[in-house]
């Protein structure tokens, strides 16, 4: 697989598909968000109203 000379062009073809790009960016985005913020998954205290 790693020796496949067509691998770079295959990768480019996959990444040029907008749907695939959306998924890739989504995974990157969620990783960044989870990494950047130590999430407190408890319900936020929106009891003011």
């Amino acid at each position: 697989m790693a020796d496949d000379p067509k691998l770079p062009s295959k990768l480019i073809t996959i990444l040029r598909d907008p749907q695939t790009m959306t998924y890739v960016l989504g995974v990157i985005g969620w990783l960044i968000v989870v990494w950047a913020f130590p999430f407190d998954w408890s319900l936020p205290a929106y009891a003011e109203f």
């Binding site: 749907q19 998924y23 989504g26 985005g29 950047a36 913020f37 999430f39 936020p44 929106y46 109203f49």
Partner: protein, 392 residues
């Protein structure tokens, strides 16, 4: 800020399963559920916001009754522009003070109310206008669809701008691809909105309330930095809005198409805030061309109006003139070029690359400077900002 995002995740985690648990035959019930969730959220944000949106809803209903009573459609179309009058009122009346005075200690979120008065109200006005025009043009949504278009929490604060179209036929069932796309776009949007934007803006280094940096170079850097921040803020929000809507089977229109690739003002507006561009084309540019016959004048006038829609203030009026003049000149030069005979030999690649590069630098600088100018708190600081670009 992140508390708000975790709140969104909780909200979606609870409301999406309930929404889809209702059978497809209960399409109206699903919409009622989503409308109720949105209304409760608006109420939680501030009762004033819900009252203001209800007021707009009542005005739309009055137009619907007038259409039903066979009122003159041309006159109704003219009157429908009056839906933007509340934007004038909030400039004259200190809304935040009045509201906090009326509601007393309950009006804890005065800053939120002010924010709504300046941004959310513009979007509510434009949505009400589009729905009203749909009704006048004989393409009326159902009352439930109209309510959904006005209150849907996913896109309430800042668009994408739509009439009732996306809310007319939500998907009957949640497709796997739509769900994954929605989740992906919320994730990417959150990274852009909460992480990238904050990284570019810096911790309170760049406020929106004017700049007082040292040296001309610093003013230029902050100009580009502010514009990039605005883009990340706006595109991140749009991504989250589009993703949220997809989880409910609603397809909102796209709002951005790589605006930082634009090589001319015209191309910039074909890539930036597309839903506003669609509104300008349909309700301002085309009618103005029909009235005056001159596209250059029409585009100029349309953008002056759009400047005032953003905010009824002198810096935004001049922002509209700046964009309108740039687009009119762009259009004029394009028309003149089209009339000239095509050269037999196209320009060499190097020359075209230089032309494109110069066009790109000019476009980005022009829109960034206009943006910082318009975001200045008043005309005095806007002029001071312009002068500081040249070391004055």
């Amino acid at each position: 800020m992140i508390a708000e995002f975790s709140f969104l995740i909780w909200l979606l985690g609870l409301s999406v399963p309930v929404y889809w648990a209702m059978p497809a035959a209960w399409a109206a019930m699903r919409q009622v559920f989503l409308a109720v969730v949105s209304v409760v959220l608006l109420w939680a944000l501030s009762p004033f916001i819900l009252i203001a949106v209800t007021g707009f809803g009542v005005l739309v209903a009055v137009f619907a009754l007038a259409v039903g009573a066979k009122a003159d459609k041309r006159r109704l179309k003219m009157i429908s522009w009056g839906l933007f009058l509340p934007l004038l009122l909030v400039e004259v009346i200190p809304v935040d003070l009045v509201i906090s005075g009326l509601l007393g200690p309950r009006a804890v979120d005065v800053a939120g109310i002010r924010g709504f008065a300046l941004l959310g109200l513009s979007y509510t006005a434009i949505r009400s206008f589009i729905i009203t025009r749909e009704i006048i043009d004989g393409n009326a949504p159902s009352p439930l669809q109209a309510v959904m278009s006005l209150v849907f929490f996913g896109s309430f604060v800042a668009g994408p701008i739509t009439g009732s179209t996306p809310f007319r036929k939500p998907a009957a069932r949640l497709e796997g691809q739509a769900a994954l796309t929605g989740i992906a776009r919320i994730g990417w949007g959150a990274a852009v909105f909460f992480v990238f934007r904050n990284a570019v803006a810096g911790a309170d280094a760049v406020g929106w309330a004017g700049v007082a940096p040292d040296g001309t170079a610093a003013v230029w850097i902050i100009t580009y930095q502010k514009f990039l921040t605005l883009y990340l803020d706006f595109t991140g929000y749009s991504e989250i809005a589009i993703g949220t809507a997809l989880l409910f089977g609603i397809k909102l229109p796209e709002n951005f198409r790589y605006p930082f690739l634009a090589r001319s003002i015209q191309e910039f507006w074909q890539r930036w805030h597309l839903s506003l561009g669609a509104f300008i084309g349909t309700y301002l540019f085309k009618p103005l061309v029909r009235s005056y016959g001159k596209p250059t004048l029409a585009i100029f006038m349309a953008f002056v109006i759009v400047g005032l829609w953003h905010r009824l203030a002198l810096p935004y009026f001049l922002w509209g003139i700046g964009h309108g003049a740039g687009l009119a000149l762009n259009m004029y030069l394009k028309q003149r070029k089209a009339k000239q005979p095509r050269p037999v030999d196209p320009s060499p690649l190097a020359i075209r690359a230089v032309q494109n590069g110069a066009g790109w630098v000019f476009t980005m600088t022009y829109v960034a400077v206009l943006s910082s100018f318009a975001l200045s708190p008043d005309i005095g600081s806007a002029v001071a900002y312009l002068l500081s670009l040249f070391g004055v």
